[in-house]
């Protein structure tokens, strides 16, 4: 299932879109990620990830209203789709199930 594949950064962006629910747009996603991961990203990476998620149908978007900020450009808000949510769920359950298989050995 190629179109349902999800790269690591894409997954983070998708998670963030889901978490920010309805308020997610480029700069906010970027800032939130930077804050969580304590790491700098380039905005173009976020744009590319969003485009790919959009192409795969994991997110959908709408434009906000015009404000005097941003040089009069509208914000583009993203929300996760049902398919996107399912993929995240799958990913999560897959990881949890494998995680559960880890034997209880002391790692200290």
């Amino acid at each position: 299932m190629k179109e349902h594949s999800l790269g690591e950064f894409e997954e983070l962006v998708l998670l963030m879109v889901a978490a920010l629910h309805d308020q997610a747009y480029g700069v906010l996603i970027l800032e939130s990620l930077e804050e969580k991961l304590k790491k700098k990203f380039n905005i173009s990476a976020v744009h590319v990830a969003l485009k790919r998620l959009d192409d795969k149908g994991f997110v959908k978007s709408r434009y906000g209203g015009i404000t005097s900020d941003r040089g009069g450009r509208r914000k583009k808000y993203y929300v996760i789709t049902a398919l996107g949510k399912k993929v995240l769920d799958n990913q999560y359950s897959l990881r949890t199930s494998i995680y559960m298989q880890i034997p209880k050995i002391s790692f200290s």
């Binding site: 747009y25 480029g26 700069v27 970027l30 380039n42 905005i43 173009s44 744009h47 590319v48 485009k51 434009y63 900020d69 941003r70 040089g71 450009r73 509208r74 914000k75 583009k76």
Partner: protein
């Protein structure tokens, strides 16, 4: 104001997909604005960096416009174009007339230039084929450059210089004063001839159509003949091979075998019908083996990949070693270049015909650009007429690009139409052009020519269409539909600048024509120091004679010449008769080795050498300032000598008459000094000259009675034909010889007059179009003024004032331009007319006059209009 970097933003907007642009731009600006608070420079840098990071396939838009109806659009554009032509007939006519004349000029000049360029350029090894040129430094420090070299130079070069692949010695037809005779049975023909070493065909790509290329020139008494000569003598090339013919050149006569038949390439400077072994020539002119001599031409084919400068140095060192007595220097010049670069100054190549080639290329471009400017001006000026069309198109959704394409289609169509007319013009004018330039140019179906035509026409269409296309397509939709057209300052400047440019060019051309015309006239009117009118000259037929005494001084030949001249003197209409060697107007042998003082400074000085009969000086009307002429009354006149004033001045002799100098080791007493006369072209200063007596010289000069010219010529012809049965009498006027010296100036003068006329005509057409337009647009204003009582004159002044300013500006710029150009052209002449202020005034007056006439043609229209009619229709 916190604004992101302009160019980065522009770049982003240019490449980014429309559906992502707003989001990306918005986000970038938001980040920028946030960062700007901390550090503006960093924010800017980051912004640019971000933009560049977005330059990736995911966001780059598609650049190909998917136009599915391009053929329909083209058809539409052509229909609109055609309608415009029909609607504005005068504009169309002005453009077609201008562009087609401009293009015709360019085509003609192209044909002429490519013909000039190809002269002598027929050898496949042209890039390695050099002619050895010789510089001789005269006693006064001037350097004389010539193509004559030592007779055995080729031989020595082939052995001594490793870089030389082949060295050819050659004596070309122009070197000989008289053509040779070829005799077969009772046929006797005058033929030009050339000598060359047997390796000639290894270097020069002259076609040998019969006989063996490799060996044809090996035999000493074997000659090759041209195809035409073979045809004339034996009716076919095949029949000519192996035949024996009697061939006479100078005073020799011998039987030769025809070993081959050759065909000369078309575009060459030297034409000959007989090609013979160089050995013959060298054998007869034994003194050419001496390293102090210089006469034959030497050509070297260098090995490929040779360092030319190094080879040149070695050749020069060689001559310095072999001939230390003269200050001679040798240098190499590409044989193919010699035709175009045949002028030397101070021992270096200094242009030549190439200057005329350049001049005409520039003129052709100027004329074409004047025509292009007309098109630009008229189309932008008439833009107001097409505002609605453009506006509607834009409103429907035509993009700038498609409008640009439309206007370019228009100009392309026009330029192709003009090209068609131009080609017809060229076809019609070519015979006349050939007569004028003395060429044989034909309109061949030559791919190079057509490629050039296509390139020139397309470029013309593009250049003339580009400005209007960009200008017209830039209009703003809203403003255009409202009928407002704001003419910005820049556009006005552009249009006026173009008109001024036209004026400058016309002005420069007019004054240029005056200068050239004056100089050519000056040359013709200059006192030459001799009288060249009513003089004809011809060659005597030299029959071979076995008696060794025959050609000696006082021998049978001399008696023959004397008796001929005596008979001529008695003839009707003949004033006086003289004989001479060489040409009066052209080529004189150089001569060194003259002694008049101790030391060797004098030996190195070069003299020109005229060999003349007793009556030469009085017949030409050359003035004797001191002493006397040669006379038959005195014995041993050959031991005397006459010099010109320049020679005396250079030698520094106080009391020359009676002084004895040595010429080539022989004592010569100076008996007379003649006033300087221009025996060469006025390009050069009069050189020191020796006039030696050669009473047997075989050229006869006859001065005729100016009132009975025809009678005189007939009488001379009768006498000539009596003595030389079967040979046609061929004579030339000395006047014609003299004019031939300036043939290229004459041609340039005529051509530049024509070109200037064309340039002015085309500019006038454009000006007419522009004023017609102005008058039309300001008709209401004019009518209102008339109603209020303005006179025609004041209206005229109103309309011409604009152009008056432009003309004045053009002249202000034009004067220094001409000054520089004309001075440098005139400097090529040793004797020249000077620039006079009235040339400029005359040029300016002509332009003013033409402008006023053009404008008033339109004024008549405006003046004739009834104000009521024009003002009523609103």
């Amino acid at each position: 104001m916190k604004l992101p970097p302009r160019y980065a933003l522009k770049f982003l907007r240019w490449f980014c997909r429309q559906d992502y642009l707003e989001e990306i731009e918005g986000n970038l600006i938001e980040i920028f604005e946030a960062e700007y608070e901390e550090s503006p420079p960093r924010a800017r840098a980051n912004f640019t960096r971000h933009v560049i990071r977005h330059f990736r396939p995911a966001f780059i838009r598609q650049f190909k416009t998917k136009n599915t109806n391009s053929i329909d659009m083209l058809r539409h554009n052509l229909v609109i174009t055609l309608r415009n032509y029909l609607k504005y007939k005068s504009t169309f006519f002005i453009n077609i007339a201008g562009l087609s004349t401009g293009l015709a000029t360019v085509f003609l000049v192209y044909l002429w230039v490519s013909d000039e360029w190809n002269v002598n350029r027929y050898n496949s090894k042209d890039d390695r084929l050099y002619q050895v040129m010789q510089n001789i430094t005269n006693g006064d420090g001037t350097i004389q450059t010539g193509a004559g070299t030592v007779g055995v130079l080729a031989e020595a070069l082939a052995i001594g210089i490793p870089e030389v692949e082949e060295a050819v010695a050659m004596v070309q037809p122009s070197w000989f004063n008289t053509p040779s005779r070829i005799v077969v049975g009772d046929k006797k023909l005058k033929v030009p001839f050339q000598f060359a070493t047997p390796n000639f065909f290894k270097v020069f790509d002259v076609e040998v159509i019969r006989g063996d290329r490799q060996t044809a020139l090996d035999k000493k008494y074997g000659v090759l003949v041209s195809e035409t000569l073979a045809q004339e003598l034996f009716n076919s090339s095949d029949a000519a091979i192996g035949k024996m013919v009697e061939w006479r050149w100078e005073e020799t006569s011998h039987a030769y075998e025809i070993t081959g038949v050759f065909r000369l390439p078309d575009n060459v400077t030297e034409h000959y019908d007989v090609l013979a072994n160089y050995e013959l020539f060298l054998e007869r002119k034994d003194w050419l083996r001496d390293w102090g001599s210089s006469d034959p031409n030497t050509f070297v084919l260098l090995k490929s990949g040779t360092d030319v400068a190094a080879a040149e140095r070695k050749i020069d060192e060689m001559i310095k070693k072999k001939d230390p007595h003269h200050e001679k220097a040798l240098f190499l010049q590409l044989y193919a270049d010699r035709y175009l670069y045949g002028h030397y100054e101070g021992g270096k190549v200094a242009g030549g015909r190439i200057e005329y080639v350049r001049l005409f290329i520039v003129i052709a471009i100027v004329i074409l650009s004047i025509a292009c400017i007309n098109f630009m001006n008229l189309s932008t000026a008439r833009a107001t007429r097409r505002l609605k069309e453009i506006g509607v198109k834009k409103a429907i959704g035509a993009r700038k690009g498609s409008l640009t394409v439309q206007f370019l289609t228009e100009s392309m169509a026009l330029s192709w139409l003009s090209a068609f007319v131009a080609l017809i013009l060229v076809w019609l004018l070519l015979p006349g052009f050939n007569t004028l330039t003395g060429k044989y140019i034909t309109l061949n179906i030559d791919p190079g020519l057509w490629l050039a035509v296509i390139a020139i026409v397309t470029l013309t269409g593009f250049v003339s269409g580009s400005y209007p296309a960009l200008y017209l397509s830039r209009f703003k939709t809203g403003e255009v539909l409202k009928g407002k057209l704001r003419t910005t300052f820049g556009e006005l400047i552009a249009r006026k600048g173009l008109v001024t440019f036209q004026y400058i060019m016309s002005f420069v051309l007019i004054v240029g024509v005056i200068v050239i015309y004056r100089q050519v006239n000056y040359v013709q009117a200059t006192k030459l120091g001799y009288n060249r009118e009513h003089i004809i000259h011809f060659d005597l037929e030299v029959e071979p004679n076995d008696d060794p005494q025959y050609f000696r001084p006082g021998g049978g030949w001399e008696l023959h010449v004397e008796s001929m001249m005596n008979e001529l003197r008695k003839a009707d209409g003949v004033t006086s008769v003289a004989n001479f060697y060489h040409d009066v107007t052209g080529d004189h042998g150089g001569l060194g080795g003259v002694n008049w003082e101790p030391g060797d400074r004098d030996e190195k000085m070069g003299f020109n050498n005229l060999e003349v009969g007793f009556d030469f000086i009085p017949t030409l009307g050359v003035e004797i300032v001191q002493g006397r002429n040669y006379s038959r009354e005195f014995a041993n006149e050959r031991a005397k000598i006459i010099l010109n004033e320049t020679a005396i001045k250079m030698m520094g002799l106080k009391d020359p008459v009676g002084y004895t100098i040595k010429v080539w080791g022989k004592d010569r007493e100076i008996i007379g000094v003649v006033k300087d006369f221009h025996y060469e072209s006025l390009y050069t200063q009069v050189k020191p000259c020796l006039i030696q007596l050669e009473s047997g010289a075989p050229k006869i000069m006859v001065k005729l009675d100016g009132t009975r010219m025809q009678e005189g010529i007939e009488a001379v012809r009768r006498i000539y034909e009596q003595r030389n049965a079967g040979l046609a009498f061929e004579y030339r006027f000395l006047d014609d010889d003299y004019n031939a010296l300036y043939a290229s100036e004459q041609k340039v003068s005529t051509l530049s007059q024509i070109f200037a006329g064309l340039a002015i005509l085309i500019s006038c057409l454009g000006l007419y179009g522009l004023t017609a337009f102005t008058v039309e647009r300001r008709m209401k204003e004019i009518c209102v003024r008339k109603v209020f009582g303005a006179s025609s004159v004041s209206i005229m002044r109103l309309l011409t004032s604009e152009f008056t300013w432009l003309v004045s500006l053009a002249m202000l710029i034009g004067v220094p331009v001409i000054w520089v150009l004309a001075t440098s052209w005139l400097n090529a002449f040793a004797y020249r007319t000077s620039l006079a202020w009235w040339y400029f005034v005359a040029g300016g007056a002509v332009i003013f006059l033409i402008t006023i006439v053009t404008v008033s043609l339109n004024m008549v229209k405006a003046a004739g209009v009834n104000p009521a009619v024009s003002l009523r229709s609103e």
